[in-house]
Amino acid sequence: MGMTMTQKILARHAGLDYVEPGQLILVDVDMMLGNDITAPIAIKEFEKIGVDRVFDVNKIALVPDHFVPNKDIKSAEQAKMMRDFAKKMGIVNYFEVGQMGVEHALLPEKGLVVPGDVVIGADSHTCTYGALGAFSTGVGSTDLAAGMASGKAWFKVPEAIIFVLKNKPGKWVSGKDIILHIIGLIGVDGALYKSMEFTGDGISYLSMDDRFTIANMAIEAGGKNGIFPVDEKTIEYVKAHSTKPYEVFEADEDAVYSKVYEIDLSEVKPTVSFPHLPENTRTIDEVGDIRIDQVVIGSCTNGRMEDLRIAASILKGRKVHPDVRCIIIPATQEIWKQAMQEGLFDIFIDAGAVVSTPTCGPCLGGYMGILAKGERAVSTTNRNFVGRMGHTESEVYLASPAVAAASAVAGKIAGPDEI
């Protein structure tokens, strides 16, 4: 019986020729990640193990990004704990404010993840790197602690669902619309415990930024990981960012999938997730008249260069609606600098938007844009749970950068063709 991409990568890292769904395996990990919220618990647990060094100083990335630059004294203490640990252990890939970015935008940009890798991260959106043809998945802090000591992680080999993406997406339809459409189709537990494997000719029309966005939200369908085949665009990206050796895995033709979905990308419309679950999707023509108070463009889902360019193309020569605060957060320093050099900040500021330093900030209700009771935001982030961006009676509507920018101008949820 053939294996999926995920099975093949896991088998190689477990030192086995074949693995099957349901099998429990111990695998070697190529990169592991912690942030200023999850690493402090991992560090405390690591210290209980009683080893005085980490398994490999090059294979751990520690990124302060959630509440950094420090939002309050307690957050400062947590960031300091991680910084002190990184220094003590000689962690090579620690990224201080000034170098840091939102972790899942930062690691690929720094070339720390390449095709064929196994990556774990104490952050649920670690599944982002599946865009590069790597197996990557979110774990908890204790898993990270055990991994930092042993270099290994345990997994149950997942069953797979395959999504065959066909044809070219229409204008204004991005990776975000595609993944929101898929989550709307299968539900927030539609891929529970399973891998989401993407294939089909439609992938050739998707940029790497689109693929990162799609893989990023696999967790929002309950998926263990989301994974794309490696093509010329992947190789071009990897060569531009990394010198690490990589290995390309391909699914066998007789690989087994528990479900097959065919998605015609030419029929996908700009899509918005209504409160309070990502599966509550409506296409842009079905949203109705929803007045908004805030727009956030950023995060590990949509804070990359293309996202900012699309937002700028819509905001250029226009003004943010007087009742709306529009907050734009480039995901990394590199993206920030590039956006500045391309003149995007002039466009944003002239439109009346603000530009923040990289941070997860408002996505998880940390800071830099918390909502009051009764307020509504359109956000390019990944979750719209109760209280996610602030008050429990506030609302978050998830959308693409194009819809978010258009909504900022309209003062209500709107598509780019409506302004």
Binding site: D143, W154, D189
Partner: protein
């Protein structure tokens, strides 16, 4: 090992943002986290929960963020077991790794009502509803996971294997 307590019932897709909101993630102190557990969907939770009480929930319990603060907050609040129709996978791992007993059992999750007296036998996976005089068969952990539980969590398990 058995746990007996009252059921506290919730619905589907209870996410980690409502189990412990991010505004409290600037600490990892279990007692501090327990004070705010479930407050965004059930502000009385911290006041009403008693030691060994059982959370009973629907599908996809613990979805969303990987924050280990979520099972830590639940455990520190005194909850002795979580029964659900299904669990989100990162929450499932985290609960095992920190030693919070959880059992997947759709039948029990659907049938048990808020306030029912519940006994859970972790070795057999059997769940008894004392109030309604019913039993349900939950999934016991597979062998490898039982080894982690027997070692009292992943950290002790790793400690043991690194010393071998």
């Amino acid at each position: 090992m058995k746990n007996e307590g009252k059921a506290i019932k919730y619905g589907h897709n209870i996410d980690t943002d409502v189990i412990i909101p991010a505004r409290h993630l600037n600490t990892s102190d279990p007692e501090e986290l327990a004070k705010h557990c479930m407050e965004d969907i059930d502000k009385d939770f911290a006041a009403k929960v008693r030691k060994n009480d059982v959370i009973v929930a629907g599908k996809n319990f613990g979805c969303g963020s990987s924050r280990e603060h979520a099972p830590i907050a639940i455990k520190a609040s005194g909850i002795g077991c979580v029964i659900a129709e299904s669990f989100a996978r990162i929450f499932y791992r985290n609960a095992i790794n920190i030693g919070l007993p959880i059992i997947e059992c759709p039948e029990a999750a659907m049938d048990i009502q808020d306030g029912d007296q519940i006994i859970v036998d972790f070795e057999t996976g059997e769940i008894t509803n004392v109030t309604r005089q019913k039993t349900y068969k939950g999934n016991a952990f597979p062998g490898f996971i039982q080894e982690i539980m027997a070692a009292d969590g992943l950290i002790n398990y790793v400690k043991k294997t690194l010393n071998q």
